[in-house]
């Protein structure tokens, strides 16, 4: 119901554009430094792990390919989503939960404004726009991390070969699931955060409980959805 109401509100007046921009700033720009950091080290770790495995088969030149496929298909979307779930599902749940227990949501309704439209819709939209973008950035920075390990550090391959392999290994199928997953994760994170926030009861203890539940439930759903999507794309 919450998803339906929040989605229907996208096309209904009044539009709260300023709230959308504020949320995009909080979720997107606010999460950018940590996303870049995690993305970079994902690529570094992937290249380091693969260097050992690939050297056994004399295929160290394929490190770019392995790093690109793993990052774009799975690690980029899932790690970024888990990071955003920890950072923003908790933030959304605690903010809305505090508003709920201090009757600010009731005050909002009493003042003639729809809390779903004012609070949920901007967060859902902002998350759907920013999470795929953050994932693309994380993937790209991860590839740079892999390059730093593979080329200047371990000299497994040349720079040209690394980037050429990485680029040529990616198919439309990989790009599609690499973008579909963050979009679905965004819907999960925003709606779970808002739902647990708006259902909060039991004072400050309830706010803490709602925050924890939001992160746990969002994380579990991220793994379930990625498994289902991967299963679908593997058969395509």
């Amino acid at each position: 119901m919450l998803a339906g109401r929040a989605t229907a509100n996208i096309v209904r007046r009044p539009f709260y554009g300023q709230d959308l921009i504020l949320q995009m700033d909080a979720i997107g720009v606010g999460s950018l430094p940590i996303t870049v950091l995690i993305g970079f080290f994902s690529g570094v770790i992937m290249a380091l792990q693969m260097s050992r495995a690939l050297s056994q088969y004399g295929a160290t030149g394929q490190v770019g390919q392995i790093t690109a496929i793993t990052l774009v298909r799975e690690m980029g979307p899932v790690l970024t989503a888990l990071l955003i779930a920890g950072r923003n599902a908790s933030g959304i749940a605690s903010e809305l939960g505090s508003m709920k227990v201090s009757e600010q949501i009731d005050a909002m309704r009493a003042l003639g404004t729809d809390p779903v439209k004012k609070l949920v819709t901007p967060r859902l939209l902002a998350m759907c726009v920013t999470l795929p973008l953050l994932t693309i950035i994380a993937d790209f920075v991860g590839l740079i991390g892999g390059y730093m390990v593979a080329v200047p550090l371990l000299r497994l391959t040349t720079g040209a070969q690394y980037w050429n392999n990485a680029w040529r290994s990616l198919e439309y199928n990989d790009i599609a699931q690499g973008l579909l997953k963050p979009f679905l994760f965004a819907v999960i994170i925003a709606l779970v955060g808002c739902l647990y926030g708006m259902r909060t009861s039991g004072g400050t203890q309830g706010v803490g409980k709602a925050t924890t539940q939001a992160v746990v439930v969002a994380s579990v759903w991220i793994f379930i959805v990625t498994a289902v999507i991967t299963r679908i794309f593997v058969n395509l």
């Binding site: 007046r13 009757e103 600010q104 009731d106 005050a107 009493a110 404004t113 729809d114």
Partner: protein, 287 residues
Amino acid sequence: MPRQEPKERRCILKFEEVSVIFEEGHAILDRVSFEIWSGETRILLGAAGSGKTVMMKIALGLLRPTHGKVYVFGEDVTGFDERKWFDVRSYIGVLFQEGGLFDSLTVEENVAYPLLNQARFMAGGKKPTAESVRPDVQEALNFVELGKTMSKFPSELSGGMRRRVGIARGSVTDPELFLYDSPTAGLDPITANTIITLLIKDRELRNTTTVIITHRFQDGHLLANFRYNPEKEKLEKLPSASPFLERTKFMVMQNGRLVFEGTEAELAISRDPYISKFSMHPATKVS
């Protein structure tokens, strides 16, 4: 600007046999019926848990009645969905018990909130901005004598000041009906009297229909017997034959039932032991 008094009085709020049953067999409200007409003031008295706040929430559409009908501004709103209610609520001012202010917004942003977010102020696609509504916000805050607190946050204000900001936020849209939930609860007598003075001032300068939930008989006594004199900028007692005396009525709630509805004089002569707890002689109660 004071609103012109309407030529014809109309029914602003009407409850018709309204009941609310939360749990099986336990009625929070039990067949409550009353009518409030434009320009009237109602003082809602009753012990804690008697159903006063539930009545206010039903009048605002925050709760739905289990049985009965509710009319707001002459329209049957019983079956209204949440979207229809948003429009109705934009014509109702409300003050919550603790002010109900948004703690992450400044005083100015709190008071500007209804003007910037209610659909009725965005008609014609022209959306108001913080700059365009600032004069109205300043006027509303000046009205409650808090014109210099625009940039403060609610946490920086005292309890009485938060209520006054709540009054400013409720009145900035010039509502036809203003609901106050325990506006003086937990305040010292001086601050409580300041709040009631503001309520009387708002009622008379804007001709607002007013419903007040309170535990204090003193609040009701002041509202029933005093008017605001704009020239002298203070309250003055109404003459005994004033028609305004009839416009203020008291209602007493007991265990979800409306057990009394009448003027202060009628309340004073009640022999019911519960009702008489709210009707002690003013001379002995009012400070």
